[in-house]
């Protein structure tokens, strides 16, 4: 038994690292315990075929606030960008690709009306997302038993909405709970534009374009603008290099990071967390235990439902976190050709989602625990920006693919995987003819693999669906949205807590600030 730390953080995901750096700077003696052999959680780089590496979870950095990158001095700790502010290209089988670069929508035959409509839509959404981004940087206000800080937070939120102006305020209230299918159809004529917008609203969720909450998840994604991103970025060395910089920043501030130190359980005594037991049996004590693991893993797996009130357990069991996104990693002998795409744009974020109807149809089978016959895909060729990921002249494709339910009927057998991979390749062939013959090696990671690689229950992107009933003061569950769990000394700092997932760092950041504030007022 050792008592040399006063804070234990379970998990060196990016949120755990941000939390560690913030607490260490405030003078806490922090130890981060990570089960994997490297930091980063779902922001990691690894080899998937001899000589080929890829960001095995998240592949774009687009929500981590630029101000936080600066404050943590990540450049000093080794962060370099291979690409910044990437545009998105919605690939079309007929080569009439649509390119979205900030507010600018371009395609050979895109009408002026739609171009204008997109520019206005982009600016309008940015203004709403900025309000949300403001709320993301603070702990969510509590409605019952609130203190002055909660009331101030609510006032601030109300004020931010008011300052949108009367028309926009009305509009955000109108569209806030709509679905993206209806909104995109209302705003645009062009089918490519509609489906490109809708794709971004459902990416990383288990929802289809007609689901309520999809406008909300679109706003969620677009907070990226407010955090200082003009589009996705790719770190040199992949997302793992970003995590390494975070780990270096935390270490420089005095935090200790122990890898291959999985936590088997959180020790609770008389309703208070007193430490953890490692997989090895080693016991570590600390008065503050913070979990970067998702809420279900933390509360069911590490604490155990027996230590908690039954009503709270009921809420934790109710968190929707059904993973739908898979990753496909391809090692390529050469750069695939994409007819109709300017070679200079091949390094953009590429999206393959032919139509709103197609997106709807891709989702439908998932309701019945089947995968999409024609999956939708987000991909990039990171080697165009960072050749170090593959042998000279060779390339890597990193693709996020939906919908591939974690609870596939019959399970993810070898046959099911082969079948799904063939479906993905068939989709890629429509825009990259001949790609199949370039593939020297491939790796498909479906939700159960994501669950085991990163320890995320259900393999869910956000550690819990992004929807109104699971956001803000409802995240992870109502009454416990301010990071403190109903076990004294136990906190959540991961994507399952407010504001949510994506490589954003704010859950870890807010949690640390809340702990510091608690101590200061105690």
């Amino acid at each position: 038994m050792t008592d040399t730390h006063d804070v234990i953080i379970i998990g060196a995901g990016h949120n755990g690292l941000v939390c560690a750096a913030t607490l260490a700077k405030a003078g806490r003696r922090v130890v981060v315990l990570e089960r994997a052999d490297r930091p980063g959680g779902a922001a990691r780089t690894r080899t998937f075929a001899p000589g080929y590496s890829v960001s095995s979870g998240a592949h774009f950095l687009n929500q981590f606030p630029v101000s936080l990158i600066e404050e943590l001095q990540l450049a000093k700790h080794g962060l370099r960008f291979a690409a910044k502010g990437l545009a998105t290209v919605a690939l079309q089988a007929d080569g009439r690709h649509l390119r979205l670069d900030g507010a600018k929508a371009a395609a050979t035959d895109l009408g002026a009306v739609d171009q204008q409509a997109f520019a206005e839509f982009h600016a309008e959404i940015a203004s709403y997302a900025a309000v949300l981004a403001g709320a993301f940087g603070r702990r969510p206000p509590r409605l019952v038993d609130s203190d002055w800080r909660d009331r101030l937070g609510l006032l601030k939120l109300g004020w931010d909405i008011r300052t949108l102006g009367r028309d926009r305020m009305r509009e955000v209230l109108r569209i806030g709970l709509m679905n993206i299918h209806d909104l995109a159809s209302e705003r645009f004529e062009d089918a490519r534009l509609r489906s490109a917008v809708a794709f971004d609203a459902v990416l990383g969720t288990s929802m289809g374009p007609r689901a309520p909450n999809t406008v909300m998840s679109y706003l969620y994604r677009r907070t990226a603008d407010a955090f200082g991103h003009a589009g996705p970025s790719i770190p040199v060395g992949g997302m793992g290099a970003f995590a390494d910089a975070l780990a270096a920043a935390a270490t420089a501030r005095g935090a200790e990071i122990r890898l291959q130190a999985g936590v088997a359980s959180i020790v609770v005594h008389e309703g208070r967390a007193t430490g953890v037991v490692l997989d090895s049996g080693e016991v570590l004590n600390a008065s503050t235990v913070i979990s970067n693991a998702d809420p279900r893993t933390t509360l069911k797996g590490l604490v155990g439902y027996r230590e908690l009130d039954a009503g709270f357990v009921r809420r934790v069991e109710g968190i929707r976190m059904r993973g739908m996104a898979a990753k496909l990693h391809l090692a390529l002998d050469a750069l695939p050709s994409i007819p109709g795409l300017d070679a200079a744009n091949a390094g953009d974020r590429l999206v393959l989602c032919p139509s709103l109807e197609g997106l709807d149809e891709a989702m439908n089978p998932s309701k019945y625990r089947q995968f999409s016959a024609e999956p939708v895909i987000e991909l990039c060729i990171p080697t165009l920006h960072d050749p170090s990921l593959a042998p000279p002249g060779k390339h890597v494709i990193s693709a996020v693919v939906q919908y591939a339910p974690v609870d596939l009927e019959g399970g993810w057998t070898a046959a099911a995987r082969a079948e799904f991979e063939a479906r993905i390749m068939a989709r890629l062939e429509t825009v990259m003819p001949g790609i199949g013959s370039l593939v020297s090696s491939s790796e498909l990671c479906v939700a159960p693999d994501i669950q085991s690689e990163f320890g995320i229950h259900g393999g869910h992107w956000h550690h819990g669906e992004i929807s109104v009933d699971q956001l803000l003061m409802m995240r992870p569950v109502v009454l416990f949205s301010q990071y403190a769990m109903p076990i004294d000394g136990l906190w959540l700092c991961g994507a399952g807590a407010h504001p949510g997932g994506g490589v954003m760092g704010l859950a870890g950041r807010n949690c640390a600030q809340e702990i510091i504030r608690k101590r200061a007022s105690a």
């Binding site: 309703g271 027996r306 039954a310 009503g311 709270f312 069991e317 109903p486």
Partner: protein, 401 residues
């Protein structure tokens, strides 16, 4: 008991019948029925005074089959129940019965009930409210099986000073050695009767549990044996007088079950119902523990008291005033004139800090005689013990009358 009938009580097609229904219907001269959780139940069969005095002077039989009953079994059953209940159920040994309450996360009482430890890793939970979903949520992480056996177990309360003699005459030999809150099984026809020395009257009395198939044979044997001991079937109205006299609270009357309350702040914690003795902070985690610890530290909002009210007009639904008769400090939840104790008893929920033992308060009582309403302010004194608590309730062997 349950006044919130959802279906017309007189419409038998809308209601379930208990296994004893044929006998009770035949005996029910007044045909006064009510809806107890979906079952046709007798409110009174005869003059309420006769029924009440059967409880206190002879043997009264009340059909408790509609009571919600859960069978709880499995290796984790004790641990599970300890997480559910606020008291330490490990102290309820096999062959014993315990009274207890369970709370929601906010430490508000959901219901009270009796827990029968009927065998190794085997229990029966009897409650006023249905709570299967709550039991299931509470069971996550425990190896237990929970079955609703409300409809498959027939049960009678046999209460009163001659109840032991009646059961002996029925052939339950040795029943007089059964201690309060103890249970024992007796062979009966081709099955058995489980008898517990429990009840809701504060008197000497038993509850008999058996299969529905043996219900009518049980009734017939009981009434044949009890004839000399003035056995009488009763309804809920007489029972209600007895339970108030004995100082027992009832869900739905004296507190709002937490899961049913709609308005914020209407529910009560065990402390606020005077049930401090049922809360054990030393046994480990149970639902509501955190909230109750906080309440113990910061103080309760309410106090539950028994009041000895001056005069003989029941203080039904009365406001309770402080000593100066100016300020309303609480309301009465149950009140009745107690014929045996010859006192006018009320139970009330008061704002803190009112209701200290011995404190004198005032009950505002309205009563009507021939369409004329009268209001009186009656002195109401906080009592520490119930007005009815005879030695026979506890004596073992049970006295013969």
């Amino acid at each position: 008991m349950n006044t919130l009938a959802t279906r017309p009580a007189h419409d038998p097609r809308a209601m379930l019948e208990t296994p004893f229904h044929p006998r009770i219907a035949a005996a029910n001269g007044l045909q006064s029925w009510y809806n107890w959780k979906g079952y046709v139940s007798a409110e009174r069969l005869d003059q309420i005074e006769f029924e009440y005095f059967a409880i206190r002077n002879a043997t009264a039989v009340f059909d408790i089959s509609p009571m919600t009953k859960y069978r709880i079994e499995g290796p984790d059953s004790e641990a599970f129940l300890n997480r559910l209940f606020t008291r330490d159920v490990r102290k309820i040994r096999e062959g014993r019965v315990g009274y207890g309450v369970w709370c929601d996360d906010a430490g508000q009482v959901q219901d009270d009930g009796t827990l029968f430890h009927t065998g190794p890793d085997l229990w029966r939970l009897c409650s006023q409210e249905r709570c299967l979903d709550w039991l299931h949520w509470s069971a996550l992480g425990y190896d237990v099986r929970i079955t609703d056996e409300t409809a498959s177990v027939a049960a009678l309360a046999v209460q009163g000073p001659t109840s032991c003699s009646t059961l002996r005459a029925m052939g339950l030999s040795g029943i007089e050695t059964l201690k309060p809150f103890e249970l024992r099984s007796f062979p009966f026809h081709d099955g058995e009767l489980m008898v517990s020395r429990t009840g809701f009257t504060g008197d000497l009395g038993y509850e008999i549990w058996t299969s529905t198939a043996l219900a009518l044979p049980l009734w017939d044997a009981l009434f044949a044996a009890g004839e000399h001991f003035l056995i009488k079937p009763i309804g809920s109205a007489a029972l209600n007088i007895a339970r108030i006299e004995a100082g027992f609270i009832m869900a739905g009357a004296d507190f709002v079950p937490a899961e049913q309350g709609v308005r914020h702040g209407r529910s009560r914690s065990p402390f606020e119902l005077g049930l401090d003795w049922l809360v054990d902070f030393d046994k480990g985690q149970f639902t509501g523990r955190r909230a109750l610890l906080a309440e113990r530290a910061s103080g309760s909002r309410y106090r539950f008291v028994k009041l000895d009210v001056e005069g003989n007009k029941p203080a039904t639904n009365s406001f309770i005033f402080g000593a100066g008769q100016r300020k309303v400090v609480g309301t009465v939840t149950s009140a009745v004139w107690c014929p045996t104790a010859k006192s006018n008893v009320a139970m009330a929920s008061l704002d803190m800090p009112y209701g200290r033992p011995g404190e004198e308060l005032w009950a505002e009582i309205y009563y009507m005689r021939e369409l004329k309403w009268t209001r009186v302010m009656a002195r109401a004194k906080v009592m520490e013990t119930p007005v009815f608590d005879p030695p026979r309730r506890r004596q073992t062997p049970a006295p013969r009358f």
